[in-house]
């Protein structure tokens, strides 16, 4: 297994470089440039714009920009005062030496630092959403399979279609209106509440000084965004689970187990469920990236201070260093996630063997 992992990791290196080259190329090829976006202000003088373009290095050809990002520019002379003439050695070390550059938009800020500031919020939200999505989805899928053709199965299918089809922004706005305005005002005349929102309409922490309290003290801030972002996963996982479970319970070994006189519960859980879950492990790879990927829609609607909005802003404002840093992190996590999923699949299914492993 170690050899398999080592081989996969070696294969990942060219994949990673390939991803960075393609993304960098697409990013530069896209119409619009960061200097125009940053300086679309008539009070900024023309030569100031040109000076900024030189300082950011965005006038250089693609291969020079990519190399500077990758291996730095301390090996070449640069125009440090942006007067049109090269005058000193560069001072960037490049991503291979751990220098992720500085954000264009947030002048001087390290992209890794910017991302790390938002990472906690995104992980917190996504772990909760994945846990609820997985638990809810698997449970509903299992019950739907066991009650095939009955009312619960039919309801779960309707729910799955709705969960997939209803856009998160619409569902989110609806939830905000309901919990923040409609319900509190409807309940107030009956002496229930004082008309204040039942749940916070946005944000991750109370708007008070002293930092964010521990997660258990602000769980109510998570309820709406987590529910809205787990709707899609619940719908998807319940369908996968139902299909997988139905396939499993129609297998010969399930029939054999029943013929041997095992209780239905024992057959479903001990034999059926364990085998039905195996194919679902292949989805765990993308899930790892999903945990940090963030969701622009959810974060925007619920003012959740995560990575999604940061990256969206970075793409819109052509903040190349932030975009590329997130691409590198995302690519590494995706590659590792897929390797982990393969290993997990092999470990959970004895029929699968690592190629090259000893018998």
């Amino acid at each position: 297994m170690q050899r398999y992992i080592a081989r996969r990791l070696l294969q990942a290196i060219p994949t990673l470089f390939g991803i960075t080259i393609i993304v960098y190329f697409i990013m530069l090829l896209a119409p619009g440039d960061p200097v125009s976006l940053m300086t679309f202000d008539p009070t900024i003088r023309q030569d100031e714009r040109e000076r900024l373009a030189i300082k950011l290095g965005v006038n250089d050809p693609f291969h020079v920009q990519y190399l500077r990002w990758l291996i730095g520019d301390d090996w070449m002379m640069v125009d440090s005062n942006a007067d049109g003439e090269v005058d000193s050695w560069g001072d960037n070390y490049g991503i291979l030496r751990g220098d992720f550059g500085t954000s264009f938009k947030f002048r001087g800020s390290n992209p890794l630092h910017l991302i790390s500031q938002r990472l906690g919020a995104t992980i917190e939200l996504n772990i909760a959403a994945v846990l609820i999505g997985l638990t809810g989805g698997l449970l509903i899928g299992l019950l739907a399979a066991l009650q095939r053709g009955r009312a619960f199965d039919k309801s779960s299918r309707i729910f799955a279609v709705l969960g997939d089809a209803v856009p998160a922004f619409w569902f989110g706005l609806l939830a905000i209106m309901l919990m923040g305005l409609v319900l509190p005002r409807a309940l107030e005349p009956y002496g229930i509440g004082d008309g204040s929102p039942i749940l916070p309409m946005g944000g991750r922490c109370p708007p008070v000084r002293g930092g964010c309290p521990p997660i258990y003290a602000r769980l109510h801030y998570m309820i709406m965004p987590v529910l809205v972002s787990s709707m899609g996963p619940i719908a998807g996982w319940s369908r996968f689970m139902r299909a997988s479970m139905l396939e499993t319970i129609n297998s010969d070994y399930i029939r054999t187990a029943k013929a041997k006189g095992l209780t239905s519960r024992g057959v479903w859980i001990r034999h059926g469920l364990r085998n039905a879950i195996i194919p679902l492990t292949v989805f765990l790879g993308p899930l790892v990236f999903g945990l940090i990927g963030g969701s622009v829609i959810i974060e925007r609607i619920f003012s959740w201070p995560g990575i999604g909005l940061l990256l969206f802003d970075a793409v819109v404002s052509r903040d190349y260093p932030v975009v590329m840093t997130s691409v590198v992190i995302g690519a590494i996590l995706s590659i590792l996630g897929y390797i982990a999923a393969d290993i997990l699949y092999a470990l959970s299914d004895p029929r699968v063997r690592f190629s090259g492993a000893r018998p």
Partner: protein, 597 residues
């Protein structure tokens, strides 16, 4: 007395009348006992808390509360005035050449650690900006950087002969350079020099360093990325309206979606909000929303359709490499002033403002906004489709089939006469582009398309992405008609050099993206910039003619100035909004308690 002078005096009288009626404040419960102000911002994270390297809206919203300006802008008149709260200048004068400005500083203000605020604080900021070591968007105010590199501005030098005097020398007399002096924000030199010494570039390494010494109604920034910025009251602030700062704290929460922000305000989570134009009518008419006190005012920006006067297939700069004026091929359609005027008669702006914008808009026909001291209400586009068609015919665009629904064709139109005779027979067609993402913008684009097509255009409307399509074709000068808006900084000066001079006609980056050129306009604008003493009345007379030229030439189809609305929770005390500022009195506010679940 001419009507121009009369109008000018009326505006001045109106502005003078405002302060007297607006300066009464009630006593608050006490220092820091006036509650917590909570507002929402859609501007994202501030890039920095350092005013020397900041330039974005989110950053300036924070550091404007922490540092003084050298010359204050009155929240009542929008003009620079001496001895204003939060500003250093006690007065100023020009020498007889108009090139040397001497600013006398107040001697009664100090940083919150007790150190007096002096000219050294301004000079440290000047040296840092001019050093070229920092990415400052303001370095361009100087003629040269410290190492002699040309910077393009008009300030030759800034000196401080003593602790309370600053002398600015300009390369030439220029009224608009006065505001350049204010582009540089004084910082506590005793703190900054200790932190950075002469190595100004170090400021770039720590852009979000929390200021420890400040001068303003609030201090001690607490920042949570993507979440909130909080500042607490600074009772050491000597310029507070009541003699103390009333609110305990001001918190700005980041809310990316303005619809959500509005709903959260209605639910009682925010003290104050700028009401989006799409919800303004609700706040005027919905009985449930009438409880919120609101203030409506004409904004300081205008929306327009930029029109390309030059051939979009061959964008050229205003000057050639030797600095000579470069004649440009006219735009096949919009190069002719008669066609541009025809468009102004074809579109019913009143219907657009009443229908699509639900009345939220003040119709304009030049670059000056109603609160400007040169605004001329007599200049208005006349909606007259018959006249539009007449002008098109006059311009050589004829209705060849007597069907107004089909596009007219060129018969000896300007482009055929001056550039290519083969253009005769071409259809009167134009692309109208609006940035994607705004329903109202899309409706306005469709309205323009329909109105123009009624008089014989084949206008093709499309919404396109701002960053990847709209901006590149606009600054690349390859567009026909693109809709956007300018938000003007304060104080608003009627100078047009940033928009209509050939120097800024640079494909790819200049702001004269329509390649408009009028020698008389440039001459008049230049005259207005060197009026002795920058006398406002004398400048207004010159700009009266400048506006007439812009009205006739139509470099843009000027559309409207947005009617803006700010709403607060009931019971917000000492809220005294003006068209210039809705928050200048916030150190006296008595904020009601906000709803929290």
């Amino acid at each position: 007395m001419g009507t121009g002078k009369m109008r000018f005096l009326l505006i001045i009288l109106l502005l003078l009348a405002l302060p007297a009626s607006a300066q009464e404040f009630e006593e608050a419960p006490g220092p820091g006992l006036g509650g917590i102000i909570i507002d929402a911002s859609t501007a994202g994270d501030p890039a920095t808390f350092n005013p020397l390297i900041g330039g974005d809206t989110a950053s300036s919203a924070v550091y404007s509360l922490l540092y003084p300006s050298i010359i204050g802008v009155s929240p009542y008149t929008g003009l620079e005035e001496p001895n204003l709260d939060g500003a250093m200048a006690a007065g100023w004068e020009y020498d007889e050449t108009g090139t040397v400005l001497t600013v006398h500083l107040r001697q009664d203000i100090a940083w919150n650690d007790g150190t007096p605020i002096t000219s050294a604080d301004y000079m440290w900021a000047v040296e840092a900006t001019r050093s070229g070591q920092i990415d400052s968007p303001r370095a361009g105010i100087f003629q040269t950087m410290a190492d002699g590199t040309p910077a393009g501005g008009k300030i030759l030098s800034i000196e401080a002969p003593d602790d309370y005097t600053v002398v600015v020398t300009f390369s030439e007399a220029d009224c608009i350079s006065f505001s350049d002096v204010n582009d540089i924000t004084p910082v506590p030199a005793h703190v900054f020099s200790q932190l950075y010494g002469d190595n100004y570039a170090m400021m770039m390494d720590d852009p979000r360093r929390i200021p420890t010494v400040s001068f303003g109604p609030f201090k001690d920034v607490e920042f949570a990325s993507g979440e909130r910025i909080s500042l607490i009251a600074d009772q050491a602030y000597p310029d507070s309206i009541l003699g103390y700062v009333s609110p305990a704290e001001t918190v700005t929460l980041q809310v990316a979606d303005e619809n959500v922000a509005t709903e959260r305000f209605i639910a009682g989570e925010f003290t104050i909000i700028g009401v989006p134009s799409i919800r303004q009518e609700d706040f005027r008419t919905d009985p449930e929303l009438l409880e919120f006190p609101r203030y409506e005012f004409t904004g300081n920006g205008f929306t327009f359709f930029g029109m390309n006067h030059a051939n979009p297939d061959n964008p050229q700069p205003g000057f050639d490499e030797e600095g000579n004026l470069l004649p440009q091929e006219p735009h096949p359609v919009l190069g002719d002033r008669l066609v541009r005027q025809a468009i102004s008669h074809a579109v019913d702006m009143d219907a657009l403002i009443e229908g699509i914008r639900e009345g939220n808009g003040f119709k304009v026909a030049t670059h000056t906004i109603p609160t400007s001291w040169v605004y001329n209400p007599e200049l208005q586009y006349e909606y007259n489709p018959e006249l539009a068609m007449e002008k098109l015919t006059q311009a050589g665009w004829i209705d060849h089939d007597d069907d107004p629904d089909t596009a007219r064709i060129c018969q000896d139109c300007l482009f055929a006469r001056e550039v290519d005779e083969a253009f005769n027979g071409s259809e009167l067609t134009l692309d109208l582009h609006v940035p994607a993402g705004s329903d109202i913008g899309e409706q306005m684009g469709l309205f323009f398309q329909a109105e123009m097509n009624k008089v014989g255009f084949e206008a093709i409307f499309e919404t396109i992405d701002w960053g990847s399509a709209f901006l590149p074709e606009l600054v690349g000068q390859t567009f026909d008609m693109n809709m956007l808006g300018w938000s003007l900084g304060l104080p608003v000066d009627p100078d047009v050099s940033a928009f209509y001079y050939p120097e800024v006609d640079v494909p790819g980056s200049g702001f004269n993206f329509g390649s408009y050129y009028n020698a008389e306009l440039i001459e008049l604008n230049d005259q207005a910039r060197v009026v002795p003493g920058c006398d406002v009345e004398a400048r207004a007379e010159i700009y009266a003619r400048v506006q007439e030229i812009l009205f006739e030439d139509m470099p843009y189809f000027y559309m409207y100035v947005s009617e803006s609305m700010t709403a607060t929770q009931p019971g917000l005390g000492n809220w005294n909004p003006t068209p210039i500022s809705r928050t200048y009195s916030q150190d006296a506010w008595i904020a009601p308690e906000m709803a929290q679940p």
